[in-house]
């Protein structure tokens, strides 16, 4: 390879100087996206991303994590060590044998189909197999569990590769993880860019809805056709959502045209007060105005409208608003929304599956009938979309009935199959309910919901109280979770559920809602965990003993503000914006918690700034336990404040700190340029207004923290010795 000409160095430097500006970079990107500058490699981001994902789930020599092997002249599928990291997401199944005389039914889907929080002890595949056996006879049918937690639209490749297993029928229980992904397919960027210019973020939502619909139709069509060609019936399950009890965190609207966010926020405040006063028609009127402004981009007005409809006894309207709320986040990759079946996915499954004459188990319809018109809730769901035992039994009974119709020609009412359905032990139910409480709390659900699951847990089995005590201990320690004694104790219980979910997917946080709910639920059995919890919190986290960084995940997360905590989230399995390494407020209030002791004075150190142009100034107020401490002038440059507070406003235990930001100057459509730029650059866009930013927020004991741990100390512990 010859070196380039020396004479071109000066030219290259000249180009670099011109290129080293933001507008030049943007122009280059736009020209590239428009196809006016050839990408020399001819690559496409989406192709690359998709290839990576599909390689894991299916190929000609592999079905999921199971690779094809020849053993004694027989073809078997054996779990591949190459993808060992992925094993946890699939059924604990070492090998899949050659198809024998048994009828073979495959079950494909995501975590709902895995039986999340019951798996591996109790799964939909087990329930379905048992139901089918009751009709086919023992040992005459097998259900191969190919469900994978977190799988998305790659179910297409999995289902098609699964034909290698020679199934007699396929059950597709999928659709909860079907959302537009980021980075976007570069081909879509110009379209979204246009939608944004013409219709604002509502245009982005419309595009997301339409493109997801197309994608789902294509997936359903491809799978349906591939199986229809081999005359293998498919049962498509249309999944349902926990409409009644699952609530998204209440966040502000994204950038609205003409800076309408200010009006929107004022309406929200008035609607909130109207609800508090029981003035439902007024609240409804205000929420409708909010909805007119945000065009369905935000859950807040939809929840208010649902609440007003529920109060008015209008069940259908309640359902409709809750469905709209569920679907309102389809456009938004910047927030961490839980899995859900969107209406467009449900509709597309129904329509496409019926075109190829496959079976459809329509869970929304079935549950509506089962609940006699009531809206699905915590009776059937552990969280947003994962079913309780009752939900699993109903969905699998309806599925079994459809399979029997196709494979046996029998028309069996699904309700008759529920009666003798497999059920987990009360101990397993207790553990699943407790895990559901943990999961729900960490997805910002209300105290009421979390307490419900905790109470369910202790009612199912008293043994769970021991687990709860251990959990309170490990969750409150500063020591990394799995290094705690309490984690050892949980591990010694040898529960697969606790081992799998509690010790793998938990992160320590102050967890006020959850730990208080646990303590409250334990009271039902006359166990006083509250005292131990308070003692442990003080021992580990009291500001008397150590300086507290309120921006740390442990304390920041106690504000229950998901957008504000993303930048310090200790996990990467949710899509997050991590472009800024400091706190950004997405609403008028920023909330934090810390552990204090009455009469222990405090010193806060607070570095903040306001976003926007340099001229904008405003007052930031700081509140401790609902008492205003200070009003601070703030501007667009960082300023640092020390606030010393006497001990008589400090509470024993949890203390709440609120930072209240001034109403910003909302940029309206001027913000779209930033969104477009992010889209062009392949970043997750910033769709929301920032109200304020914090770089430092600490609280300390001004007298100096205790720096020496006694050489011989009495260790307080919730778990005892």
């Amino acid at each position: 390879m010859e070196r380039p000409s020396e004479s071109l160095k000066s030219f290259a430097n000249h180009v670099a100087r011109l290129a080293a500006s933001e507008s030049a970079a943007q122009l280059t990107s736009l020209l590239r996206l428009a196809g006016l500058v050839d990408d020399p490699s001819g690559r496409s981001n989406s192709e690359g991303a998709q290839r990576g994902a599909t390689d894991v789930v299916g190929s000609p020599d592999r079905v999921g994590i199971w690779e094809k092997k020849q053993e004694d002249g027989q073809t078997v599928f054996v779990r591949s060590r190459e993808v060992m990291k992925d094993w946890n997401y699939w059924a604990n199944l070492g090998r899949i044998e050659l198809k024998g005389a048994k009828k073979r039914v495959l079950l494909i889907g995501e975590s709902v189909a895995r039986g999340y929080l019951y798996d591996p002890i109790y799964t939909p595949a087990m329930v379905l197999e048992k139901m089918l056996e009751s009709r086919f006879g023992p040992g005459q049918v097998e259900v191969i569990d190919l469900a994978r937690t977190n799988i998305g639209l790659e179910v297409r490749e999995l289902a098609i590769s699964a034909l290698q297993l020679e199934p007699d029928a396929l059950v597709m229980f999928s659709g909860n993880n079907w959302r537009a992904g980021y980075p976007l397919d570069p081909r879509h960027v110009p379209v979204i860019d246009t939608a944004l210019r013409e219709k604002g973020i509502a245009g982005v939502k419309q595009f997301a809805d339409e493109s997801l619909g197309e994608e789902v139709r294509s997936v359903v069509r491809d799978i349906s056709t591939a199986y229809a060609d081999r005359k293998i019936p498919i049962v498509w399950i249309v999944p349902e959502f926990n409409l009644m009890d699952w609530r998204e965190p209440l966040i502000s609207a994204p950038h609205l045209p003409d800076g309408a966010n200010r009006t929107w926020l004022e309406l929200w405040e008035r609607a909130r007060m109207a609800l508090e006063n029981g003035s439902f028609p007024h609240a409804k009127d205000l929420a409708q105005k909010m909805l007119d402004l945000d065009a369905g981009l935000c859950v807040v007005p939809l929840y208010i409208l649902a609440e007003c409809s529920r109060h008015a006894g209008d069940r259908e309207a309640t359902r409709r608003y809750l469905e709209l709320a569920r679907d309102s986040s389809v456009w938004d990759p910047s927030i961490s929304a839980s899995a859900r079946p969107l209406a467009v996915s449900q509709r597309s499954i129904r329509e496409e599956a019926r075109k190829t004459n496959h079976e459809v188990v329509d869970m929304p319809e079935i549950l509506k009938e089962y609940l006699k018109g009531e809206i699905p809730d915590r009776r059937l769901f552990l969280d947003y979309c994962h079913h309780t035992t009752e939900g699993i039994q109903i969905s699998m009974a309806a599925t079994a009935a459809a399979i029997l119709r196709r494979l046996k020609g029998e028309d069996v009412p699904w309700r008759s199959l529920v009666k003798d359905a497999l059920a987990p032990s009360r101990e397993v139910e207790a553990e699943a309910a407790f895990l559901s409480a943990v999961h729900s709390a960490h997805w910002w659900q209300s105290y009421d919901v979390v307490l419900h699951h905790c109470r369910q847990a202790v009612r199912f089995s008293r043994h769970i109280t021991q687990v709860m005590k251990f959990f309170v201990d490990l969750q409150t320690r500063r020591t990394p979770m799995l290094m705690c004694q309490a984690a050892e104790r949980i591990s010694e219980l040898k529960s697969p559920l606790l081992q799998h979910y509690l010790l793998r997917y938990n992160h320590q946080q102050l967890d006020v809602v959850l730990l208080d709910a646990i303590a409250n639920a334990m009271k039902e059995l006359d166990i006083d965990a509250e005292k131990d919890l308070q003692r442990l919190r003080q021992e580990e986290h009291s500001v008397r003993n150590r300086d507290i960084d309120l921006l740390e995940y442990y304390f920041n997360s106690a504000g229950l503000q998901p957008q504000e905590v993303m930048w310090v989230l200790p996990r990467q399995d949710r899509i997050t914006r991590k472009a800024a390494d400091y706190y950004r407020a997405y609403g008028l209030d920023s909330k934090f918690m810390f552990i204090g002791e009455r009469d222990c004075p405090l010193q806060f150190t607070f570095t903040c700034r306001l976003p926007g142009h340099a001229a904008f100034q405003g007052a930031v107020t700081i509140h401790l336990n609902d008492k205003q401490l200070a009003e601070l002038p703030a501007a667009s440059s960082w300023s640092t404040w020390d606030i010393t507070v006497p001990g008589n406003v400090v509470q024993d235990g949890c203390n709440k700190v609120v930072v209240r930001w001034p109403m910003p100057e909302f940029p309206g459509q001027h913000a779209y340029a930033g969104i477009q730029n992010d889209l062009i650059m392949g970043n997750i866009p910033e769709f929301y207004c920032i109200f304020g930013e914090i770089h430092t927020f600490t609280v300390a004991n001004p007298a100096g923290t205790k720096t020496t741990v006694p050489l011989e100390q009495h260790e307080l512990s919730a778990i005892g010795k």
Partner: protein, 611 residues
Amino acid sequence: MSAKRTDQPNVQIKVNRRGKKEQVNIIGVSAGYHDSACCLLQDGVLVAAVQEERFSRMKNDKSFPRNAFRYCLEAGGITIGDVDCLAYYEDPTLKLGRQIWMGTISELPADRRSAILDRLVTPQPQAIMSQLFGYTGPIEIVDHHFSHAASSYFFSGFDEAAILTVDGVGDWPSTTYGSGQGTQISRFEQVDFPDSLGFFYSAITGYLGFEVNEGEYKVMGLAPYGEPIYVPELRKLVEITSEGQYRLNMKYFGFLAEESMYTEELCKLLGRPPRKPESDLQQFHMDVARSVQVVLEEIMLEKTRYLHSKVPSENLCMAGGVALNVVANSRCLRDGRFKRLFVQPAAGDAGGSVGAAAMAHVRLTGERPAHKQLDNVYLGPANSSDETYHILKTSSAKFQDYRGREDELIAYVAGQLVEGKVIGWLHGRMEFGPRSLGARSILADARRPEMRDRINALVKMRESFRPFAPAVLEHKAAEHFDIDHKSPFMLETCQVISPIDLSSITHIDGSARIQTVGPDANPRFAKLLEEFDRRTGCPILLNTSFNLRGEPIVCTAVDAMMTFVRSKIDVLVVEDCVLDRSGIPALWDLQAEMAPEKMGEAVGHLIYTLL
């Protein structure tokens, strides 16, 4: 508008706005290429420096150093508003020019050209830092090799010196010749990309089956096992031209356009195919290693002589990745015309952050940064002894608590070392740069010939030919090594002259890369060496970095505990607590397996990440 306190009845609240701290706070940043890092210079004093990899746990992390930046603020007791200036360690526009120039190669593969196009749409570092750190003040851009030069000269303690920087590439230059005089650094000549001694050495590193930009020191370690029989062939790779110039013969180098540092022509020249990574090392590979080392030393010696002819100082400052070749440095000092040599301990790109900050300090204040030779690099985070105790106390670990009993701790550890135990040792602030110098170290008895293989088996899993380094009491160093001055940073080799058999730290050519330890820089480590000497008559310990293969050196007490779990080290000393393997709770294995998610950006090792 002024601040208002909002007094409640019986509540007296004080609200004070902090003025900006009076000292000049400059944060130096290196990122985007290899080993990103931050440092803090306060009134010209280097008070903190750390590589991002230590936090992200991604070896050679090149992402913008968000954690290192936060650490520097904390270490300096300042907030973002107190930062007077960010100093970035290379000129992004010059670098972009070099990348665009590469794109003009007519037969450049499509993916390479596409990658260059990617660079054109990537935000500039200034914009990234502004958004990531929330910093809106001035940013000083310092040319890559000026950063290297400053990182050495301004911390050398010399009033004046000749300066030589040599690395793979930064923006345009790969080698620069210059001088330092008081507050001024000047450059009178440079060698530009693609001619690069760093790439010359790295190409052979890749050919020998080691990771480029990571395995160069393995080649250096392998060299003494070989004979320089391929020197004539390897001389063909570099044409020495006039003055400070040299020119690579590009028919042997593939880095401009291929996913390899070298071409097929090199294989033909040496008559063998490249070595497959992890395959057996043969005499041929050792001979090539020796030959490349000899050629490098020849060129370095000639160029330092040339530099001396232009800058006839007694002092030489060196920096850049090639300056980490301690054997070549020692030869330049021994056989060259300079009397004194200073090499910045983090001579690679991480250290560029320090140089950039120093240059910015001069530009802002007109003054030289603290005029004193850098005497230690314990510039990273520390762990609290009590917090460490607390972690262990609330676990099921069985451990010994030596808080407040340092002498007993030292006696215990010395006893364990005498018994042949391998010790994981964490104490005080972490070292900046690639070497463990007694703050995050694995220690063992250097007299035991089996120790090299044992440590390799227990933890390092590295090639058996590579020697371990010794730490020796400063005042006794001359009794055991042919050295008459301090070597606190493990940046020099010298001959072992000890009456004691020190085979585990002695290289095949009788040399050792030593660290001298005095009581001022690391009192506890010095005490341990004293106690070991008192018991054995040997003031020397084997000292190697506390990490597993492919991982960064440990930073926190928890990192040390988890590395201890995953290795087979006998004893862990973490601040004032000691645990042995029998004290490890069962569940710690799971915690170790679920080590924190890595947040950084990995660096490719097939080729320099030119882009």
